[in-house]
């Protein structure tokens, strides 16, 4: 099956700093999403971005599908950004359901 690798595994920032999270995947995908898992375990969808660039406030994401990677940018980080960030990909092919394969995540800690 498809492999999804995220880096770095852990990241510690001071409040106000910027960061870039990376997601590499081993095959072409129809679906790529970034999630934030808060300390209570809730998964919040940040971006649906199988290709191109999107921005939402302090967050932005870019996926270069031809090179099989995606980047999540966090600017002016806040303590509430802490948590685990997951990249998840999906492949929709004949007879295949729309499930997601998750990367191992990046644990982000933002210090006050």
């Amino acid at each position: 099956g498809i492999q999804v690798e995220q880096s770095p595994p852990d990241l510690i920032l001071q409040e106000g700093a910027n960061s870039t999270l990376r997601c590499n995947f081993s095959d072409s995908v129809n679906n790529l999403q970034w999630f934030h898992q808060n300390p209570w375990g809730q998964l919040i969808n940040l971006f649906y971005i199988p290709s191109g660039t999107k921005q939402n406030g302090r967050l932005s994401a870019t996926t270069v599908a031809t090179e099989r990677y995606s980047l999540l940018y966090i600017s002016s980080s806040q303590t509430t950004d802490s948590g685990v960030y997951f990249c998840a990909v999906g492949q929709i092919s004949s007879g295949s359901a729309r499930q997601l394969t998750f990367g191992s995540g990046t644990q982000l800690t933002v210090l006050p």
């Binding site: 679906n31 969808n45 499930q99």
Partner: protein, 110 residues
Amino acid sequence: SAVISQKPSRDICQRGTSLTIQCQVDSQVTMMFWYRQQPGQSLTLIATANQGSEATYESGFVIDKFPISRPNLTFSTLTVSNMSPEDSSIYLCSTEDTQYFGPGTRLTVL
């Protein structure tokens, strides 16, 4: 967007017992997915539940251990059977619009 709820939100269970987790969606969906997240780990797909047919299980997961029901297009249950401490995880459901997940069920097995 779909609103997904799960019950219970958390539970502590004894070894050898079973727990049934419910997932309710506020709209009709064809496919529902069940994921497991073991402590400190990523999410792994357990099975896909389609209404009117048996669930499709991923490698490493079997129906006897994780029976799934899908009685209608808005509801599914996952049962964790004959539990052991290794089953301690967060269990999450999602729909075919995979951008949205339920809040999860945090299970601890003693």
